[in-house]
Amino acid sequence: MARKSYRQAINEALRQEMERDSRVILMGEDVAGGMGAEGEDDAWGGPLGVTKGLMPIFGRERVLDTPITESAFIGAAAGAAATGLRPVAELMFVDFMGVCFDQIFNQAAKFRYMFGGKAVTPLVIRTMYGAGFRAASQHSQCLYPLFTHIPGLKVALPSNAYEAKGLLIQAIRDDDPVIFFEHKAMYDEEAEVPDEAYAIPFGEANVTREGEDVTIIAFGRMVNLANEAADRLAKDKISCTVVDPRTTSPLDTETILETAAETGRVVVVDEAHPRCNMATDVAALLVQEAFGDLKAPVRMVTGPHAPVPFSPALEDLYIPSAARIEAAVRELVAGS
């Protein structure tokens, strides 16, 4: 097993699934790059190089560059999925959902139900999310709560390279439309990643550590901050369970409820804006289903109800930090 970056893990998952199944194709803006230009082919491989190297292996027939026309090509991916292919489309930044959401939430997501169970739509949409890149308000959003809200979609949020590879392979093999969220600030982060292909099932949370005092439920990149906070807290003999639900839809409510019951104190960490987000989703689950197990208020650590600012000085204050998670845990422990 070798150490690989989040970027490499995703690239490898795509390559292995494309090798395995010729119906898997990629499409997106500059996923290869250089169309019609005089210089090198495979010039980009996506803006951050995640799909680089795939076009030379699989050809332009399977790695399709597109014009800037998200409705048309995300819709084309949905249409292709409903007619025999297994497309992986790249919505470069999830912030661009606003120009193509219809094809995702009214078309792909609803085919099966509207058509009385007769459609199968094995579509994957890979997309970048999250703050920390100094990319400002229109390139830093999370927005997975919006997709989680929509029945018919599945939503994956890999928290490290190992998770990214396994969840992406599952996404590609999955017969339902999956929105696969890649945190742009994590592409260079490394983890041990097996060379062979493996799928991580959806709806099964990963408990990254077990503790007795507080359960931290965190999403995507926040899992790492939660673990960091837990490390620091451990030094003060506060022991935490950290849960990475891996997918927000389906959500592993069982593990959440179990681990919450074990400690009776829960912090939910969600990088997204605070209203109608995953933190509220989990907190609400707990107060409805695990009320008797709770010894203390559920604490939500989230981004604020404000767009993401550009200035590094502000953005650093904006993003939930390990320190804020730590503080929330301490508060809970102190309060009881």
Partner: protein, 321 residues
């Protein structure tokens, strides 16, 4: 293009079935037996029939909110459709879709669509599948004049061109988008737009089945030959309101009677084949009768058929969750 006797019969049957179906749905809606938003295709039959007569199951179409005609022409089961419109369990979509979401993927009917401009991107995908899987299939997006202004439609023109897809865009211009005239809402012209995106464009009288069928044959052959997308601007009219319940105060009061009298696609078809002695009047009348009674029968069945039940409410959301 000379059609065989069989093809002529098929064409007429298709158009008559659509007409009979729509007239009956209109009646049932007026009587309060059908709920929801229902958009009828009566008057426009020659377009669906003219295109779909060229198609096989491997070919895909995407329809609009006004989808009954395309569905019938593409081979959807009429009984299943009527059940669907009545929300019955045995409907083509189990009663979950209704008029606006009739689909049958096995027949290459990718769905009516409640979203104006929803279909063209999907059709780029179906065309991509056909191209990639080398099925020889083509894919057709029917869009209204109103939908021809929607960004999703316009983007799809470009994508189909740039990817050189076996896709065809049929702009069914019935003169109105709801109450808004296409003469006002469409800046420029459909033909110039086709050119603007580098596609061949054709305009055709949509009351004339033979004219539509001819142009359809050309653009479909072109697509099958790998020569890329085309746009066809079909001009005609609808007989009923935008949706059932629309009083149509925006139309001149003599517009529809005039059209029905002079430009009805079924009448024009009959006239033509009778004059050319290609089919017999009695044969056509026989078809009419047979179809009318079939539609009456499936309607009666649908009205008596069971509704879906609570057990159906939460199925079919996912393949697996």
């Amino acid at each position: 293009m000379q059609l065989s006797r069989d093809e002529l019969v098929r064409a007429y049957r298709t158009m008559r079935t659509i007409r009979a179906f729509e007239d009956r749905v209109h009646e049932e809606f007026s009587a309060g037996n059908i709920p929801g938003f229902v958009h009828l295709y009566a008057g426009e039959e020659a377009s669906a029939a003219g295109f779909c007569l060229h198609l096989e199951d491997r070919d895909n179409i995407a329809s609009t909110h006004r989808g009954h005609g395309h569905s019938i022409a593409k081979g959807c089961d009429v009984r299943g459709m009527m059940h669907e419109i009545f929300g019955r369990k045995e409907g083509l979509c189990g009663g979950k879709g209704g008029s606006m979401h009739i689909a049958d993927l096995e027949k290459g009917m990718m769905g009516a669509n409640g979203i104006v401009g929803g279909g063209p991107p999907l059709i780029c995908g179906a065309a991509l599948s056909a191209k990639y899987l080398k099925t020889g299939g083509v894919a057709i997006a029917f869009v209204g004049d109103g939908a021809s202004n929607q960004g999703t439609t316009l983007e799809s023109y470009n994508l189909a061109k740039v990817w050189n897809l076996p896709a065809i865009f049929v702009v069914e211009d019935n003169g109105y988008a709801e109450s808004t005239a296409s003469a006002w809402s469409v800046g420029g012209s459909q033909l110039d737009r086709a050119k603007g995106f580098g596609m061949p464009g054709h305009q055709v009288d949509g009351h004339d089945f033979f004219a539509v069928h001819e142009v359809a044959g050309e653009v479909i052959a072109r697509a099958r030959a790998g020569e890329g997308p085309s746009l066809v601007h079909v001009k005609f009219s609808r007989y009923y309101g935008h949706f059932e319940g629309d009083a149509m105060t925006y139309r001149a009061s003599d517009e529809i009677p005039r059209l029905r009298k002079d430009r009805d696609c079924l009448e024009l078809f009959r006239k033509r084949v009778l004059e050319a002695a290609l089919l017999e009047e009695s044969e056509l009348d026989g078809i009419d009768e047979e179809i009318n009674s079939h539609v009456a029968q499936v309607t009666d069945e649908a009205k008596a058929a069971p509704m879906p039940t609570e057990r159906d409410l939460l199925t079919d959301v996912y393949m697996r969750y």
